[in-house]
């Protein structure tokens, strides 16, 4: 095409370019490259570019497409993008409008799984410390699965064939397709909330095998978190043996397939019955032995002397008592006699001791001295007595009453008690008492008084 000299406006030329591109490019293209300049706009649309060693292609992914992605695109990630090339006329810029994005090399789901695994592992959701133990003999088990799938039959058969004594309760949920994960998560929360009435010991979440897409609900975060939250222990039973889902990793116990649910949740009835039979035999054996031993013991006891000669026990002891008593009294008697002998000997010894005799001699001396002292005292006293009686004789001569011996007498006025010496010492009619030598008294009354002096 030769230059026609036509002058285009910007809009015209951009529009022309768009028309040329639209006409010549295939409607959809698939481009491989590395993500770069990744930007998730708050509007929800994503702006980024794909690049290789030499070139860069701007790209957009609209919100609705982005939300259906299972994995998280990031810078550096090798991807295969599918969409159409579009010219953005206002900017004169062409870009890839990607409606599909998938990791190059591995599947998008695989990548999504790895990303979810890494995220939840970092949070510790798979840690052993959160694993709840299952009760050894569950009574009620809740099963969260599709009512129409094969899994429900597989699970119930695997449980009931091992252990019929458990009540199974089915909570029908969708296990694949849009909203399945949310539905199972809601069912888990619902059952936990109602468990006061439901009294479930274990919950089983599962489904049969299928393509990775079919199992996808069991890799979703919402379900993983609901399993982690559950107060009731959760057993996962998803897909085939080789499929490991996020749910398997978060669950307290994993059953590799629905048909293995019974093995991990309930004991084997026949093993338990065997154990019961063993216990019964052991108990019966024990009881038999215990009774036989008790019987033997009884026989031994009955055969003992006590039962053969019941009184020998008493008589032997009586004899022993008598002997002891005799021995005791003999001993005491002997000891008393011995002590008496000892006392006697000691007394003899004491008697024979010299100081004892000396003491007696001293006593004799003391006695003699005492006698002499007494006699000397008596002599002195005797001398004194003579002196005293001589003095008394001389003293008696001086006694006024001694004149009475010579015929004198003493007259006393009875009224005054005074000796009558002068005329005035007695009045007429006074009683006067005359004392004689023999100490007798004469009482007389004064009849007349004669004053000789007056007369002369």
């Amino acid at each position: 095409m030769k230059n026609t000299g036509k002058i285009y406006t910007v809009t015209e030329i951009n529009t022309l370019i768009k028309a040329v591109l639209d006409a010549n490019l295939p409607g959809r293209v698939t481009v491989t490259g590395q993500i770069t300049d990744w930007k998730l706009h708050h509007s929800g649309h994503c702006y980024f570019a794909l690049k290789d060693e030499n070139s860069k292609l701007p790209a957009v992914m609209w919100k609705s497409r982005y939300n259906s992605l299972k994995f998280l695109p990031e810078n550096g990630l090798a991807v295969i993008a599918t969409g159409c090339i579009e010219v953005y006329v206002p900017n004169g810029k062409y870009q890839l409008i990607a409606d599909k994005l998938q990791p190059a090399g591995k599947g998008a789901l695989q990548l999504a799984f790895e990303q979810m695994y890494e995220k939840l592992r970092a949070e510790g959701l798979f840690n052993d410390e959160y694993k709840k133990p299952l009760p050894p003999y569950p009574q009620r088990i809740g099963i969260l699965t599709s009512e129409s799938g094969a899994a429900v039959q597989d699970i119930t058969n695997s449980i009931h064939s091992r252990w019929p004594a458990v009540k199974l309760l089915l909570y029908p949920v969708a296990v694949q397709g849009e909203g399945a994960a949310e539905q199972i998560a809601a069912a888990l929360d619902d059952v936990n909330r109602r468990n006061r009435q439901l009294c479930l010991d274990i919950l089983i979440v599962g489904r049969g095998g299928g393509a990775l897409e079919d199992l996808w609900a069991f890799n979703e975060e919402v379900l993983a978190r609901a399993i982690f939250r559950s107060k009731i222990p959760v057993v996962s039973a998803v897909g085939h043996e080789i499929d490991t889902t996020i749910a398997d990793l978060v669950a307290d116990v994993r059953a590799s397939t629905p048909t293995k649910a019974g093995v991990v949740t309930v004991p084997d009835m026949y093993e338990v019955l065997d154990r019961l039979a063993v216990m019964q035999r052991r108990l019966a054996g024990w009881a038999k032995t215990a009774l036989r031993l008790a019987k033997q013991h009884l026989e031994t006891v009955l055969a003992s002397e006590v039962f053969r000669k019941p009184f020998s026990l008493v008589t032997t002891r009586q004899q022993l008592l008598d002997e002891t008593e005799m021995r005791v009294s003999n001993t005491i008697r002997y000891q008393l006699a011995e002590l008496g002998q000892k006392v006697h000997l000691l007394a003899e010894q004491v008697r024979r001791i010299e100081p004892h005799r000396l003491l007696r001699e001293c006593l004799v001396t003391v006695y003699n001295l005492q006698n002499r002292a007494r006699m000397a005292a008596q002599q002195v006293i005797g001398g004194c007595r003579v002196t005293v009686s001589t003095a008394a004789g001389r003293l008696a001569a001086l006694n006024p009453k001694s004149v009475l011996q010579r015929g004198y007498s003493i007259t006393t006025n009875a009224a005054t008690g005074r000796i009558v010496r002068l005329l005035e010492d007695a009045a007429v009619a006074d009683t006067i008492i005359t004392e004689l030598a023999d100490e007798n008294l004469i009482e007389s009354k004064v009849t007349k008084k004669q004053n000789k002096a007056k007369r002369s």
């Binding site: 003999y137 309760l169 089915l170 338990v272 019955l273 216990m279 019964q280 052991r282 009881a287 215990a290």
Partner: protein, 81 residues
């Protein structure tokens, strides 16, 4: 405990309770730590527990119930419709 009480007791016991008690009795008897009289009672009790375990397993009915929605919520839903 009297025999009658024990019998009514086992009827209400779960399998786990039953087998726990049973194991305890067997251990105790085999260690010979209980007098003969007691252990004979325990023996009888153990036999009753074994019987109860078997009954639980035999009487089980292999049924499955649906628990998707509580009765009251279902009713409420129907009322709305």
């Amino acid at each position: 405990m009297a025999g009658k009480n024990e019998k009514t007791d086992t009827g209400k016991m779960t399998f786990e309770q039953t087998i726990t008690e049973l194991t305890a009795i067997v251990d105790k008897i085999e260690q010979g730590r209980i007098p003969l009289q007691d252990s004979l009672q325990q023996y009888e009790r153990a036999m009753a527990l074994i019987k109860h375990c078997r009954t639980i397993l035999q009487q089980a009915e292999k049924r499955i119930e649906k628990i998707s929605e509580p009765e009251d919520r279902k009713q409420a839903g129907q009322d709305k419709e």
